[in-house]
Symmetry: C3
Subunit: 313 residues, 3 copies
């Protein structure tokens, strides 16, 4: 579907401004700079050099850029600019407004919902997904081949991608007198708060005593393991192939890079960044960036890398 550029005016706020040929240009797709055609909406990274030249050379119609662009150097005959401070964010908002896939709510014919489950009518439950004795909130989308055990509470506007398992028994054993493993029984559940997104093939275990909790707006990627009784804070990002050990707490706004592993029973502070492949064996204070195996504060890690590099010469 093709939209007139002026329709974007309804989406932008006072912090953004539109210039150029707004009234007689139109767009019907979003694209990268490289793949854009004459009906594309694109964005330009603020750190690019010669943005004016790039914009003049592009045939895209609508270009979202930052306010360092010298507008007077742009030929605005056949294009328009959306000028703002954070072009990626504003591009996201415009693109989502015009092109996001709308889901028809409903339960797919091959899905199976336990009779005792409480599922809001305005949800989408995908093919071959199973919902146990659990709750699913309004506006929530659970894609196909997911398995939601009993005792899981999923909030509103949550998205869960295919193949994800939520609420399986956590992994807790005690060796008995003869070395055999006896299992710690799991009586807790899982709470997934509003606006959480969970990727595909991820596993979130139920609490043993008490709950595993993913707080509002947190985003969990694909193939992530969240053990029993973990708490993931608000708007945290836990990226692909990460492993969060049992009873560990991650405070709000933290960023766990791909393939990181975090020991059980530690406390990761607010606004913490954990590096890719880091093996975290201790608690991390608020605001710090740690990486390495075992993980250390970034400054110390870099210092060690420098010294090690010097060693090898």
């Amino acid at each position: 579907m093709r939209y007139n550029s002026s329709e974007i005016l309804a989406v932008v706020t006072d912090s953004e401004r539109m210039v150029g040929n707004i009234s007689s240009t139109s767009f019907d797709n979003v694209a990268t700079l490289e793949e854009a055609n004459q009906f594309s909406l694109i964005w330009i990274k603020p750190n690019k050099k010669n943005k004016e030249e790039i914009i003049n050379n592009s045939i895209a119609t609508v270009i979202v850029c930052d306010d360092s662009v010298a507008v007077e150097q742009i030929n605005l005959l056949n294009k328009c600019l959306v000028i703002c401070q954070n072009p990626k964010l504003i591009f996201i908002r415009i693109a989502s407004h015009f092109f996001s896939q709308k889901f028809d709510f409903g339960i797919h014919s091959t899905a199976f919902v336990n009779k005792k489950a409480i599922v809001d009518p305005e949800t989408y439950i995908g093919p071959n997904t199973y919902i146990g004795i659990s709750k699913v909130g309004k506006g929530t989308i659970i894609h196909g081949n997911c398995f939601i055990y009993d005792n899981v509470e999923i909030g509103n506007n949550v998205v869960i991608h295919a193949g994800t398992v939520i609420g399986s028994d956590g992994f807790g054993y005690s060796r008995n007198e003869i070395g055999e493993l006896e299992k710690f029984p799991h009586f807790g559940g899982v709470i997934i708060e509003d606006f959480v997104e969970v990727g595909s093939n991820t596993s979130i275990d139920r609490g043993s005593l008490g709950n595993t909790i993913i707080k509002e707006g947190a985003k969990i990627d694909n193939l992530v393991h969240i053990a029993h009784n973990v708490i993931v804070g608000k708007s945290c990002l836990v990226i692909a192939n990460s492993m969060i050990g049992g009873s560990t707490i991650i405070d709000d706004f933290s960023w766990i890079a791909p393939s990181a592993s975090i020991l059980n029973q530690v406390k990761i502070g607010k606004n913490v960044t954990v590096g890719m492949g880091a093996v975290v064996t201790k608690s991390i204070p608020d605001g710090e960036t740690w990486t390495g195996v075992p993980a250390k504060p970034m400054q110390e890690f870099l210092e060690i890398q420098k010294k090690i590099k010097a060693l090898s010469k």
Copy 2:
């Protein structure tokens, strides 16, 4: 359901003793110390300080603790203690006895079992699970969305969590004259012995020639990769996101921490501990603890960490 504390007497053995108000107290839930109410069964970690004070301050009814607790300092009017050497283990036994979920055996209406499969009538096969030309033993629970290929032999009292795949082709290729990959055909199977537990979204490949074997009582966590022809020994623990390379053998009672990777064709001894995130590239003798990238004996690893730390100052 609420139980009189005296009913616990039927579960405890000669190694444990119960003291306090056994006859007129009762419990209906298990909880953590922090979340207990006046009908809770809880346990106290032996390494806590001031256990007597903790116990006196708790409103829990039944408290499992170790024998270092000074019983004469406890107010036993409204509570009773189960005193033993390993409180976690005894708590597990009591909690499991009274509160474990009982599964009704049967095959879910959405499961699909191949006509040539041999499935004991006393098993539970969950929603959307597929069983190929394979065997499933008595008392075994296979949760939903699992996929069991042909040629898999699953023993008695096994538990397999949702989304797990057992018996897919292993990954073995040979480059031909022009660099293309030709696949090593897989004719083997998988043997899962009695009392094994497998987590969710785990992948266990079939043997190429010969079988992949998970021995009695071993516990495999979520998102673990077990390659073709691996042997996991009795009562081993292989924790989340670990990767065990092809034809590697792990001997009995070993402990593979989360996110560890073990090269193909190595031999991990008995009672070995592999640390979190370790990258194991060699065989490990019985009883040793290895960690790091590449993994080394713990003593050497700690020594190196100390020296590296000194370097950076």
Copy 3:
């Protein structure tokens, strides 16, 4: 089914030769050297010592070996040899010819294919697999419990193992003014070219703008994460539990070892080898081998290991 050894003559090419009792021996299984019986087809690794003794002691009927074997020392009364340069490869070809499982094409009764999907009639779609508005080519096998979203193009002769998810939304967010995460919309798709194989429980995300591409003959193992807009080159191997970050390009014939992590937006050259558990944070030139955390060229890695080892003494 049992075959006369002479039937192998139809499979071998001019580069191989068969000697021994070809006419009156027969075989009905493939096996390892250790588990062979008198109807087995086996192969011998070229780097074994005393191959002549090993072959004479084996009761296997057909033995594929390299041309360093002194044929005059072998008792060929009841056996025959296939002599070649690459015994593993020739064994693969013979074993595949006689024993590979043939799939009956068709869509399993429990699979669900979107009406707008374009699926070649000569494909196999397994139990509980879902195919969205996507294409599936001729000779392709998609095992059970897979989930193929919309906008995925799967070529000919592709194999996808159980539980794999292809085409879910990639993971891209931008923090807004108040720290909340807003999602980068995903409009791209996934292209899986001919002769690709994908393991079980793997996740391949769709492109955000533009496509994620797995090129001809590439092999992806179990539990691998392929992020949005990744390109995996021809005949590459990406082994279990690996993580490939968004927009990263891996050129042809490269080998990514298990549990490796590769940062987003880097470029891995042709014929590159990335070691097990490596954490790759930079682009790697053609032909190099990198390993470690963070990954470095192998020579540098080994030098550092040596120096670190010396330190600890």
